[in-house]
Symmetry: C2
Amino acid sequence: MKIAVLGYGTVGSGVVEVVKRNYDNIAKRAREVIDIKYVLDLREFPGDPVMEVLVHDFGTIVNDPEVKVIVEVMGGVEPAYTFVKEALLKGKSVCTSNKELVAKHGAELLEIARQRNVNFLFEASVGGGIPIIRPLNQSLTADEIEEITGILNGTTNYILSKMKDEGVDFEDALKEAQEKGYAEKNPAADIEGYDACRKIAILTSLAYGMQVQYEEIPTEGITKITAADIRYADALGGSIKLFGTSKKVADKVYAYVAPKIIGSKHPLYSVNGVFNAILVRGNVLGDVMFYGSGAGKLPTASAVVSDVIDAVKHQGVNIMQLWSNKKLELEATKTLKNQFFVRVPATEREKAEKLFEIAELVTLGGLEEEFAFLTTAMKEETFEEAAAQICVINSIRAEL
Amino acid sequence: MKIAVLGYGTVGSGVVEVVKRNYDNIAKRAREVIDIKYVLDLREFPGDPVMEVLVHDFGTIVNDPEVKVIVEVMGGVEPAYTFVKEALLKGKSVCTSNKELVAKHGAELLEIARQRNVNFLFEASVGGGIPIIRPLNQSLTADEIEEITGILNGTTNYILSKMKDEGVDFEDALKEAQEKGYAEKNPAADIEGYDACRKIAILTSLAYGMQVQYEEIPTEGITKITAADIRYADALGGSIKLFGTSKKVADKVYAYVAPKIIGSKHPLYSVNGVFNAILVRGNVLGDVMFYGSGAGKLPTASAVVSDVIDAVKHQGVNIMQLWSNKKLELEATKTLKNQFFVRVPATEREKAEKLFEIAELVTLGGLEEEFAFLTTAMKEETFEEAAAQICVINSIRAEL
């Protein structure tokens, strides 16, 4: 079995390494020896053994009938989309880690794969090395999915963990994440929640079998979270995490990305650092959680290669994934109920007590000019309305 | 698609309920409507709608060509083994939650299924509703599995959590577990670790593709754990859990069941109450963890029904599971390295300091006549040798 890898960046070189390192075991699992015939990249890599299989022209790969499975790990929508579509149309299976591509064109590419009786697989597009796509498709099938909530972005989780553990401010934690290579120089995709947004869009599309437009998911990042917020959360016995969430309530599906304070009993409370975890709630199964390395060269490559093995085992058989191009109409989140953590100036105490049903009140040493409180669960729109009438320093959703 | 259910106990009635409750969704996932044609049980259930499909004779089911998938949820080796074997030989797929059956006869039944081109599936046999069998077979395929460590028994985890939270002794916690229906009247299978032993045998057989004889797995339960041990563990910042573990070290496979003190950074630290969780370490993937309800009527039934859906989707196609009847020779655990927590009389202090490399020393109020210490990592045989020379009140493996 000959395969090709599009892109020799972090994940691509990881795929080459995993295929080499676990060669025998992979052959046993796939029932065939798997060899990489081509690696596509525009760059040269002098001295790297990859040079023996490096090509610069996608045509060489897609027109080679010996190549039956193509790994796409270039990232970004183009030219990935053009390449993947062409490969599928030519009857080759494609395995990708590319969340932008999957979130935007998943339904269409799955449909082409179905028609050509090949496979379009994307385990690595969400949660890095954590098995979540295949479990959603093949294991959690007896349930109606009621909720998916995930820590889907390792960079932001690293930053928030750092802020909590060391009391540093957002900017300093971000800088350290960048120095350690956990965050990009342009960190917007992570810290503004765009990455988590694409991932929850993919999971929601798969859970309900319809296309979620990720542009329609209300998305809030972590740039507004300060060291003081973290201290308050601590005082409340909670921890701030960035979640991608979708919920089904009486046939209506909600989805959003936002930071939230959760308590120590929450299954995702102890997910720290660059780890990711995804909680899935089924109507008969209850809660299951999947935890692991959400990114990183080898864990992500491991997930990609598990897809390659699946594609090799399923030659001529399309693995069904329920995800039609019918659009899933998301409900506005304003009717969702949440608790809220709110900071207001100390002078607003009386007003706050009139406007909100307060579950808990906190003051912190060194922050005498303000106080914070936790509301009981209330509709988002009701909260917005009340919050507009008072001077709010910061507010964060909570589940405590 | 007509299926039959063998056994109308807790899980069997759960399967009937799940098939009814999620009927449409199941049909969508299976690409066929699934109906229960027979339920086999020796008892009568007057007034229960199950009476319409209840039969007392297995022959009715196995000789009905319309029945293509059989669910076995009777438990125990016989008559389950005879029924399942006959069903597979007659070309019917079987889905089971029966860990005794799978641990003892898994390799043989998988081989018959392979020969007849049907499927023998057992997702519910380990971890109840947690997807772990299918991920091991289909998701973690690009890795060499280096370790599997699981909290595999909800009853013992409930008892240990109770002892920790309320400071009660083992006997009281067990009694409460029995009153709440979490423990059997004869609790030996749970508290002596036999249940966890069968489950780690199944996981290890699947991970390495060979038959593990569960009788050969050193198995220690939790009956020796006292309220004092829990207090000491607390003082060390740790928590006692019962683990089923297998490890591969340089081509040697070790497996054992034993309680262990783990620290708060361990991914399984916060798995409390009746929940189960399984940590799998791959050579390229790193750690992944699966968490959820390890038992219970509906979660277990959900896993069984997900197998039924898989069997229906794979008619005429055998889903490969690597598990040959070749025996996996387990290494003796005496060469494994562990830390140990040890309690000895206060008078033995000098001796203890000579015999062991002590990492930490603890004394507790009210227990002035003794003290406890934590060793550095040492071979089990070295520990046994040293421990034989001193009066040990209790000792527990540790990873702190």
